[in-house]
Amino acid sequence: MLRIKNLKKHFGGVKALDGCDFEVGQKTITALIGPNGAGKSTVFNLVSGIMKPESGKIVFDNKDITGLRPVKISNLGISRLFQQTKLFSNLTVKENLLLALDNEDTKFWKNLFGLNKITRKKEGKIKETLKLIGLEKFENILTRDLSYGQKRLIELLRTILNPHKFLMLDEPVAGVTPKLREEIAKVLLKLKQQGETILLIEHDMGFTLGIADEVVVMEKGKVIAQGKPDEIKNNPEVLEAYLGE
């Protein structure tokens, strides 16, 4: 579904990505792991269009998406969760989710004439989803007034609700309480059962290796290993680079 070919990205003299190659198969959860500074988030920034690579190719669904604007990439079906929470702080929980649900109705005339019909249907879906995670009473709260964990959950929900074929989750359980971590793990496992394709960055090895079908290990901007979680666990190169063993 996603092919990264010889991707390079430099920041001044620092080679964040130096010929990165890997593939993500359809209906799999692929974990992208590696020590800090390995280039994992840079891969996410390049795939989602936030940054442009110096060279290399990103192919999604047999389409070359290298250097496209984030909105075009989003509309092709890639939905992304950021490492640091990035909700629209001056919008309510409901408004944040409503915007992600269907971005097509920002077209003015469609929006103007179909105002109530569009919003009512979607607001119902949002209410239902918020109930599932027990946050229905926060529907009309500005997201800047939520706790970190609640923000993380709402952002994950926004990423999932955004129409997509492919999810990219950058450290979904970083900095959350063990209880919330469990909740998020449940959500991800449910997505896995539904046959979603997910690329995941996570430092929590227990969590990552527990849900991933495939693991890609990066170091110094390059992929040093790719395989099933069990193979990766016992790969001496990975143990040395990542676990320092």
Partner: protein, 287 residues
């Protein structure tokens, strides 16, 4: 005297708020100071003059056509800025470009219409209504009511419609808005169209109340900009509040000072805010 100054302040505030709200809308979304917004007001006034006074078109048809044409004019301005954005122009470059556009457009008005003042002459001089000793003309009442209706519509647009929410999302974080599928370029275009339409309506109302002269846009954008800073730059309700505060201060100020000090009063208030509350009335101080 007090009531008369209050009414005069209300009228001035309504006019400044029409300028400041559109300016603030564009600033909050596109994140640069669009000084050429003043020229949009002047162009709208001159389009109405050309259609109604020179070509003899039906007044209401001329008004509708002016609003449509000025919205197109606003979107053309956005296309100019878009080319600069594509070349990674900084906000300072965009600010300089907006000054250049303001001067260019005013010079073109001067070239085509001349330096002498023009009047629309749609409303014949009417006797003002007397309210507790204060005088207000029907046109002035119309200006105040139409601006309040416009502000309510703008509030509805921003709070209740999807495009308004998308505008607030782009204003909050353009990159994240793009990630959730909102085209920031499309939103910029709508900000310019809507902001220019508001400025256009402002230009029409001002043209009915005052004389037209090529540099009228510069004077108005200075007041609109001042109001936007006082209210909290990029905050639309703040800009409207700031505009009324400015209108009232200028008019009550001349109770004590000669009327020539009106502009000085506006700038004194601006400096007071910049010194003691730089984030403005409704702005949030950045940590």
């Amino acid at each position: 005297m007090f009531l008369q100054l209050l009414i005069n302040g209300l009228i001035a505030g309504a006019i400044y708020a029409l300028v400041a709200s559109g300016f603030s809308l564009i600033y909050s979304i596109c994140k640069f100071v669009h000084f050429a917004h003043g020229a949009v007001i002047a162009v709208a006034a001159y389009i109405l003059y050309a259609l109604f006074s020179l070509l003899g078109m039906n007044f209401w048809l001329a008004v509708i056509l002016t609003i449509i044409l000025i919205s197109i004019f606003g979107s053309v301005m956005n296309l100019i800025y878009k080319q600069l954005r594509k070349r990674k122009a900084s906000n300072v470059i965009l600010l300089i470009a907006s000054f250049a556009l303001l001067i260019l457009i005013e010079s073109l008005i001067l070239l085509f219409f001349g330096a002498d003042v023009k009047t629309i002459g749609f409303i014949k001089i009417a006797k003002g209504l007397e309210i507790l000793g204060a005088i207000i003309t029907p046109l002035q009442i119309f200006i105040v009511i139409s601006s309040f209706i416009l502000f309510a519509l703008l509030f509805f647009l921003m709070k209740r419609t999807k495009i308004g929410k998308a505008m607030r999302a782009v204003s909050d974080n353009k990159d994240v808005a793009e990630i959730v599928g909102i085209s920031s370029e499309r939103i910029y275009m709508w900000a310019f169209i809507i902001g220019s339409a508001i400025a256009g309506i402002g230009g029409i109302l001002i043209a009915l109340e005052q004389n037209l002269e090529p540099m009228m846009g510069t004077h108005l954008i200075i007041k609109g900009f001042t109001a936007a800073i006082i209210g909290g730059i990029g905050n639309i309700p703040g800009a409207i509040l700031g505009a009324f505060l400015l209108g009232f201060s200028e008019n009550f100020g001349i109770w004590f000072l000669p009327s020539g000090y009106k502009d000085a009063i506006a700038f004194v208030i601006l400096f007071i805010f910049l010194l003691f509350r730089p984030q403005g009335i409704l702005g949030i101080r950045k940590k």
